[in-house]
C-alpha cells in the first residue's frame, strides 16, 4: 500500500467515523432533524444555522448548541436533557416562554442530533 493510498484510506475512515458520530448521537438523525426544525419553524424564535425559513431573536440562538453549558439557563446541557426540554419546556420550567410545539420524541431526538452537529 502506497503512502498516498494509506492517506486516502485514513481520510475516508475518518470521514466515515465523524459522519457516524453525528448521526448516532442519542439515536437521532441530524439530516432528518434539520427537516424537523424547518417544518416546525423553530426559527420563529431561534437562530439556527443551516435551517431554511425565519430567523428570530425571541429565544436564544442555537449556534454552538453543544457548547452551551446550560439549557434554559438552568439545566446542565446534554442530549437527553435537550430532548426532554424540547418535548415539554413548561414542565421543566413553568416560567418559560417556550411552548410545547408538538414534536414526537423521535422528532425531538432528530432535532437534537442536528443541533449537536452544529459547530
Amino acid at each position: 500500500v502506497s503512502y498516498r493510498r494509506a492517506c486516502a484510506l485514513v481520510a475516508l475512515l475518518a470521514a466515515g467515523c465523524s459522519e457516524e458520530a453525528i448521526v448516532s448521537v442519542e439515536g437521532g438523525n441530524a439530516e432528518r432533524g434539520r427537516e424537523v426544525l424547518e417544518r416546525f419553524e423553530c426559527g420563529a424564535c431561534h437562530r439556527i444555522p443551516g435551517v431554511r425559513g425565519p430567523q428570530s431573536r425571541v429565544g436564544p440562538t442555537l449556534e454552538n448548541f453543544h457548547r452551551r453549558p446550560y439549557v434554559a439557563g438552568r439545566f446542565e446541557n446534554s442530549p437527553e436533557l435537550a430532548v426532554r426540554w424540547i418535548l415539554d419546556p413548561p414542565a421543566m420550567k413553568p416560567a418559560t416562554a417556550m411552548p410545547v410545539v408538538g414534536l414526537t420524541e423521535a422528532q425531538a431526538r432528530d432535532a437534537v442530533a442536528y443541533l449537536w452537529s452544529l459547530e
Binding site: 419553524e41 423553530c42 420563529a44 425559513g53 425571541v58 411552548p99 410545539v101 408538538g102
Partner: protein, 336 residues
C-alpha cells in the same frame, strides 16, 4: 407548519380566468408558430426560385396590407372577447360572446349581470396583509372577516371587490386568474369561478414596500356544502376560553394593547388596524404567509414580529411574562 400551496402561472389552470388566459396563450403561440413557418416557407421559396420575376406589387399588397389586416382584426376581436369574458359573471366563452355580438348587435355588449345574487367577497390589500370580508346585502352573512385566506365554493362564480388601504397592491392567484391591481380610492372587480377544490397560493404582484415578498394569501377551494359550513362557522363569535390556561391567555390579550388594533368578535376587543382574530386558529398561515400556524409560531410572532417581518405595523410585544405569552398563543390557537 407552513403549507405551501402551489403558486405558478405554469401550473394547470384551476379557475375560469386562468383557463381563458391559458387558451389565449395557446392561440397566440400557435398563431406565431404558423406565421413563423409561413415566413420560413417564403424564404425558402425565394432562395429556390432564383432570379425568376415575381409580381412585387401583389406580394406587398397581399402580404403587407391584406393579410395583417385580416389577422390583426381577428386577434383584436378575440382579445376583446377574452377580456370581456374575464369580467362577465354570465360569460360562456369568448367565441360565444363574439357570436352573440354578431347576432344581436350592440345589445349583447350591455347585457346585465347575473340576476342571482353572486357571492361577494371584499378584499383589501394592506401593508402587508390581506383583509377579507364576506357578505353584503342579500348574501345572508354579515360580519365575516378574516385575513390572508380566502375560501371559495368550487364551480360557483364569485365576485371579488378589490381595494387598497394604503398603496397600490395587486391581487394575483395564478392558478385561478390573472392579476388585477388594487388601487387606493378605487374598487376593482374580479369575477372568478374556481373549478377544482384545492389550496392555491397567491401573492401581491405589485411592489408595495419592504415586506412585499411576505404578502401572500391562500385560496382554499372546497365543494359548496363544505363552504357553507365554513362560512357559518366563521360568522360565529369567538368561543369563550375553555380552561384556566386559555383564560390566562384571554386575560393577557385584553389587559395588553392587543385590542387597540385587533378585533375578536364576541369579546370587548374591537380594534380595526390589524387582522380580525376571531378565528385565527383556523388559518393556514400567520402574517400573510410568513409563518405556519401553531402555538410556537404564534408566540414567536407576538414577541418578535419586527424580527420576522421588519417594518410591519405590529410591534414586538414586550408586556408578557413567558407563561403569559404561552397562554396567549394557546388561546389564539384555540379560536378555531
Amino acid at each position: 407548519m407552513n403549507e405551501h400551496g402551489m403558486q405558478s402561472a405554469l401550473h394547470a389552470a384551476a379557475g375560469s380566468g386562468a383557463d381563458l388566459i391559458t387558451e389565449l396563450g395557446i392561440v397566440l403561440f400557435a398563431g406565431a408558430a404558423l406565421l413563423f413557418l409561413l415566413v420560413i416557407g417564403l424564404l425558402l421559396r425565394a432562395v429556390s426560385t432564383g432570379e425568376s420575376a415575381v409580381d412585387s406589387r401583389r406580394w406587398i399588397v397581399g402580404g403587407g396590407v391584406v393579410l395583417p389586416l385580416i389577422l390583426l382584426t381577428a386577434l383584436l376581436v378575440y382579445g376583446l372577447a377574452v377580456g370581456n369574458t374575464l369580467t362577465d359573471m354570465n360569460a360562456r366563452g369568448p367565441l360565444r360572446f363574439v357570436l352573440d355580438c354578431i347576432s344581436s348587435g350592440a345589445r349583447a355588449l350591455s347585457m346585465p349581470l347575473a340576476e342571482a345574487t353572486p357571492l361577494r367577497v371584499h378584499v383589501v390589500g394592506r401593508r402587508w396583509w390581506w383583509q377579507v370580508r364576506y357578505g353584503g346585502p342579500g348574501t345572508g352573512v354579515t360580519g365575516v372577516e378574516l385575513a390572508n385566506e380566502l375560501h371559495l365554493p368550487a364551480g360557483r362564480p364569485v365576485e371579488l371587490t378589490l381595494r387598497s388601504g394604503d398603496v397600490i397592491h395587486s391581487f394575483w392567484v395564478p392558478a385561478l386568474a390573472g392579476k388585477i391591481d388594487m388601487i387606493p380610492g378605487r374598487a376593482n372587480r374580479l369575477v372568478l369561478r374556481a373549478s377544482k377544490p384545492g389550496v392555491y397560493r397567491g401573492q401581491c404582484a405589485e411592489y408595495c414596500g419592504g415586506q412585499h415578498a411576505w404578502m401572500a394569501l391562500y385560496v382554499v377551494v372546497v365543494p359548496e356544502p363544505e363552504f357553507r359550513v365554513w362560512l357559518q362557522r366563521q360568522s360565529q363569535p369567538a368561543a369563550l376560553p375553555g380552561d384556566a390556561e386559555l383564560r390566562r391567555g384571554y386575560d393577557a390579550f385584553m389587559r395588553a394593547s392587543c385590542a387597540d388594533c385587533h378585533t375578536v368578535r364576541g369579546t370587548p376587543a374591537r380594534g380595526n388596524h390589524g387582522p380580525d382574530l376571531t378565528h385565527v386558529g383556523s388559518r393556514r398561515s400567520l402574517a400573510a404567509g410568513r409563518l405556519g400556524n401553531h402555538q410556537g409560531t404564534m408566540a414567536g410572532w407576538i414577541a418578535g414580529a419586527q424580527d420576522l417581518k421588519p417594518g410591519n405595523a405590529m410591534p414586538d410585544a414586550r408586556e408578557f411574562t413567558g407563561a403569559e405569552l404561552r397562554a396567549l398563543a394557546a388561546w389564539l390557537g384555540s379560536l378555531q
